[in-house]
């Protein structure tokens, strides 16, 4: 479904990704793990169109997307959820969902129902400013917003970072439910979440893919994975 072939990415003269290749099959949930600065976020941003590779190709369902602007990539069914948990805080929760529905061409009522199915408590907050939501609620709203319009692929950066254990359970439940309907590439440091949800793991180190894990036994071995964090 998605193929990233030998991409290099640089910030100015500083090369951040070196010859990175990953692939994702339809319906797969792929996790990218690695230490801070390994290039995980840069990889997601590059797939999403916010950064352009200086070398290599990215293709979605056989079509090249590496030269496209982020909005063009999004319109091809790739949605990016950034690490910063930044919702449109001056808009209401409903307003946030409305923009996603408008962008995706989905009726608002359908979009609201879709997001509230992930987190029914949003029903009580719809008219509240999104800036008043907790970190976990913001993350759920961001994932919900990204799911509006039934995208093909979700790119999610550190969805559980900085969240309480009880909220992580909510995120885990949502990601588990997503597996049925959408493919995903998720950058995540919480190995408990990774080992339970991953179909494939890419381990990144210093801007390169260090290892690719596909064996379920290896994926579930969190002790081994910890060596890479």
């Amino acid at each position: 479904m998605l193929e990233v072939n030998s991409i290099d990415v640089a910030y100015g003269h500083a090369k951040v990704l070196h010859d990175v290749s990953i692939k994702l099959n339809q319906g797969e949930m792929v996790f990218v793990v690695g230490r801070n600065g390994a290039g995980k976020t840069t990889l997601l941003k590059t797939i999403a169109g916010f950064l352009k590779p200086t070398q290599g190709q990215i293709s979605l369902e056989g079509q090249g997307i590496s030269g496209l602007a982020p909005e063009q990539v999004a319109r091809r069914g790739v949605r990016y959820v950034a690490q910063d948990k930044k919702v449109f805080s001056d808009l209401t929760v409903k307003g946030n969902i409305e923009l996603a529905a408008y962008a995706a061409g989905e009726p608002l009522e359908q979009a609201l129902a879709r997001v509230m199915s992930l987190y029914p408590k949003f029903k009580d907050f719809l008219q509240n400013k999104a800036g008043g939501l907790s970190g976990g609620q913001r993350e759920i709203l961001l994932i919900g917003r990204a799911l509006v319009g039934e995208p093909k692929l979700l790119l999610i950066d550190e969805p559980t970072e900085g969240l309480a254990a009880i909220v992580i359970q909510d995120i885990f439940r949502i990601l588990s439910g997503m597996k049925e309907t959408v493919s995903g590439i998720i950058v995540e440091q919480n190995l408990s979440v990774v080992s339970r949800l991953a179909d494939r793991i890419y381990i990144m180190k210093e801007g390169k893919i260090e290892r690719e894990l596909t064996d379920p036994a290896e994926i579930k071995n969190t002790a081994e994975l910890e060596n890479y964090l």
């Binding site: 941003k45 999403a48 169109g49 916010f50 950064l51 602007a69 982020p70 909005e71 999004a74 319109r75 949605r79 990016y80 959820v81 950034a82 930044k86 919702v87 449109f88 805080s89 001056d90 808009l91 307003g95 946030n96 409305e98 923009l99 996603a100 408008y102 962008a103 995706a104 917003r145 990204a146 319009g149």
Partner: protein, 289 residues
Amino acid sequence: MIDTILYGLTIGAILYIFSIGLSITFGTMQIVNFAHGMVYSLGVYLFISFLPWTLRIFPLAMALAIAAMLPVAYLIERFIIRRLYGESLDYAIIATYAVLLIGADLIKYIWGTAPQPVSDPIGVPLVVLGVVIQLYRVVVFLSAVVLFFALRIFFTRHVIGKIVVAALEDRDGVRALGLDVNKYFSIAFVIGSGLAVLGGVLYAPITTSEPYMGFHILLLAFAVVIVGGMGNLTGTFISAFVLGMVIAITGRVYSSAADTMVFVVMALVLLKNPIFSFVRRLRGRPAHG
């Protein structure tokens, strides 16, 4: 004192109407747009030319001037401002300042350098607590208040307004949804430019129009936007009236210091929010997509 307050409210109203476009451009595009002053002054001169053609029907000439400047504003956004996204702040200043200078020279070439007076279109005096004030000034103030609420409705209820509000906060977040922010910035830019012309035309009967009129109000408007917060539309409204009152009250005591006091207030605000963070915000533009 009543006339001083009314003068402050009038100047505040004009500053607010003019500054909205600047505030949106600052907030969404992180571009310091000196070309806004050209749109303002050229719009006023067109209005002055349209007045005799429209049998001196003020609102009709004003509508024609605004309509005439909207395509000009679109072309400025499409071919100058949009090319400056992600470029150095200095390029934006140089390019838009060049547009401002070209506008002033164009006005001098077509209309000459002599100041152009416009008479009060209402010309009805009111007596309030024994003081004579012009009804026109009350209309100008009320226009700004009505505009403020109209824009609030637009930015909170209309989906295009919501997209602009969202982009003011997180441009990349809007793009990640699949929305082409440039399209909405163009709409916001053209609306802001139309309002600049509106402000200029409303101000024309209170002052005299001259080719460099855009330079003066531009500096005051930058102060309004910085004090009110870049992209903060409510802040811009409050800041415009506060600075309008500063101009009016200072002018009553010592008229030569009226504009200076505006920049003293701006300096105090920047001391609280250091200028370096202000410049960093301008320079910290999003990654070029």
